[in-house]
């Protein structure tokens, strides 16, 4: 595993082995144990943007909160920026930054006050904290509103304050829990730039997201989590390549989809296929260019009416579908 930043090859920022967490939940009289995270192994290299994907309830946030020292794991080990999570969470806290999903700023405080306090909680002196706050405000284009109360900020501005808070102590790693959820497209693009800038500054960024396009565009490597386990890990390109070949999507009437499925499943160049709810099929083929004419002939020969045919490269959604058996959108 190799990062593209200016870091030494093989420098590991996060290494987890068999990290576990279960919760006990009570429904009426019954107590049942939910295994939220069932043995997670992760390796994140220095200088990477590492994406952590999965549907809601997959255990992403629980894993993240364990790594950020907010909840104690039930089992397993983790080393974060060289510090042992189980034995020395205090040291881990000094070396990481964490930006929660639900926000972390107080309505009645100003961005500057929040930044200065946050820096001082890390043991930084008052003058240095003030200097860093001023610098962070400029870097995140917040100088204009620095001394206004947080409640007056827009969603995007507030998110930027929160990211600035997460990195005010210049951590080696920053954990961002769904940093773009709820932002409009423009703020979202802006946030991607901010995240890339963090990496350019030498930071390792660990983000959770449920946007596959975000993972694809932003992350150097990703891990897909489902039912408390990591089901796939790699660069977006490798993961997509793993699903060999191309995807051909044919549009059909719902009534004729079943018949077409039978026909095409028998073709030797179709490695796998899925039916679409709205009618039609997704066919995984080795080579789209040669498969398309054959598909057309087969469908036409059987007298079925074809509404559309599209060729695309497998997307992360296809990876997700292959690994988890469902689409991220429907989960």
């Amino acid at each position: 595993m190799m990062a593209d930043g200016g870091h030494e090859r093989g420098e590991v920022m996060i290494e987890t082995r068999g990290l576990r967490k279960s919760f006990r939940s009570r429904a009426g009289r019954e107590t049942k144990t939910v295994d939220a995270v069932r043995g997670v192994d992760l390796d994140v290299a220095a200088g990477e943007i590492f994406g952590f994907l999965g549907p809601n309830g997959a255990g992403k946030t629980t894993t993240l909160r364990m790594l950020a020292t907010l909840i104690e794991p039930d089992g397993g080990q983790a080393t974060i920026a060289g510090a042992d999570l189980r034995k020395d969470p205090g040291e881990v806290r000094r070396r990481i930054g964490y930006v929660a999903q639900g926000g972390s700023t107080w309505d009645e405080s100003t961005a500057r006050e929040e930044l200065v306090l946050q820096a001082r909680l890390y043991g930084i002196s008052k003058t240095e904290a003030q200097r860093r706050a001023t610098r962070a405000l400029a870097a995140f284009q917040l100088t204009e509103f620095a001394d206004r109360k947080c409640k007056t900020y827009s969603g995007g501005q507030r998110r930027r304050v929160e990211i600035a808070l997460g990195i005010i102590h210049e951590p080696k790693i920053v954990f961002l829990d769904e940093p773009t959820t709820g932002l409009d497209p423009q703020s979202r693009a802006h946030m991607w730039d901010e995240i890339r800038r963090l990496r350019a500054d030498g930071m390792t960024v660990f983000i959770t997201t449920h946007y596959l396009d975000e993972a694809d565009a932003l992350c150097d490597r990703i891990a897909i989590m489902d039912h408390g386990e990591v089901v796939a890990e790699g660069t977006p390109t490798d993961l997509k390549r793993e699903i060999s070949g191309d995807v051909v999507q044919v549009g059909l009437d719902v009534a004729t989809t079943g018949e077409a499925e039978k026909l095409l499943a028998a073709e030797e160049y179709v490695s796998r296929l899925e039916t679409l709810e709205e009618g039609g099929l997704r066919l995984f083929v080795d080579e789209g260019a040669t498969a398309i004419p054959r598909i057309l002939r087969r469908v036409d020969g059987a007298g079925l009416e074809l509404r559309s045919i599209e060729l695309h490269r497998p997307s992360l959604d296809d990876v997700f579908l292959t690994k988890t058996g469902r689409s991220l959108r429907e989960s």
């Binding site: 950020a68 020292t69 929660a100 946050q118």
Partner: protein, 251 residues
């Protein structure tokens, strides 16, 4: 020292936010003054006190303990708002001392109580209340310990229940018997024997007796050291328990 520094940081922030909100400052001063002006005049005849000053000697210490108990017990509401805003979680990922997260907040509550207490004492002086400064300072120590305990307990419970809807009835349920069984508004000397018997198990009734003794200039009264000791032990226990809630997983 890290604990002292961290506590000071949290204390400063909390005090700053309190002062920024003039409504709270106003309410904090207005309420006790109303008690003093509108309730106290009933006391001279009710208590059968020879002078208004005598009545105030009984009533003012009770009023101050009342403020310390209630002021403290309801601080948890602010913490639930902070929990919801993610401020507590943001603090918990830093290496800040967990005890400081509690103490900084509770000490802010102690200071705001003492400011109220000073205002009330000064007003009562206008009504001919006289008390020795040494006795008064010891009484303030008692009040500070009470406020420290009740606010710590309130924060601890807030972290446990995490919702205003649960905290409000819980705190009222605790506060009501504590209030009635402590002789705060009227001395328990008027109470029948069985009621006095139950009240002996209420630590606040010892605190009220001790504070009254101090206002009466009776510093050698056993109730003074007994009350201070009981409340100090409870305050230490409350702080210890609540700080553990800050250290544990919240949200």
């Amino acid at each position: 020292m890290k604990l002292a520094r961290d506590t000071w940081l949290i204390f400063q922030r909390q005090l700053h936010l309190l002062l920024r909100n003039p409504v709270w400052v106003f309410v904090g001063v207005f309420q006790p003054v109303m008690y003093l002006l509108l309730f106290a005049p009933l006391l001279k005849p009710a208590l059968n006190a020879p002078t208004q000053a005598e009545a105030y000697k009984i009533f003012v210490p009770g009023l101050l303990v009342l403020l310390a108990i209630f002021g403290g017990l309801f601080q948890g509401f602010g913490l639930i708002a902070e929990l919801r805003a993610g401020v507590i979680e943001r603090s918990r990922v830093t290496p800040v001392s967990r005890l400081a997260l509690l103490l900084g907040r509770s000490l802010r509550d102690v200071v705001s109580l003492l400011v109220q207490a000073v205002i009330i004492t000064l007003l009562a002086l206008l009504f001919d209340l006289r008390v020795f400064i040494g006795d008064l300072l010891l009484a303030y120590l008692m009040l500070a310990l009470i406020a420290l305990m009740t606010s710590a307990v309130s924060y601890g419970v807030a972290l446990k229940v995490k919702s205003e809807d649960a905290l409000a009835p819980l705190m009222n349920t605790v506060a009501q018997p504590v209030l009635l069984l402590s002789g705060i508004l009227l001395p328990l000397a008027f109470a029948p024997g069985w009621l006095q018997g139950i009240a002996r198990w209420n630590p606040f009734s010892w605190a009220v007796d001790g504070t009254r003794a101090l206002f009466a200039g009776d510093i050698s009264n056993d109730r003074v050291w007994q009350g201070l000791t009981i409340i100090a032990v409870l305050a230490a226990a409350g702080v210890y328990w609540a700080a553990r809630q800050f250290a544990r997983s919240v949200r």
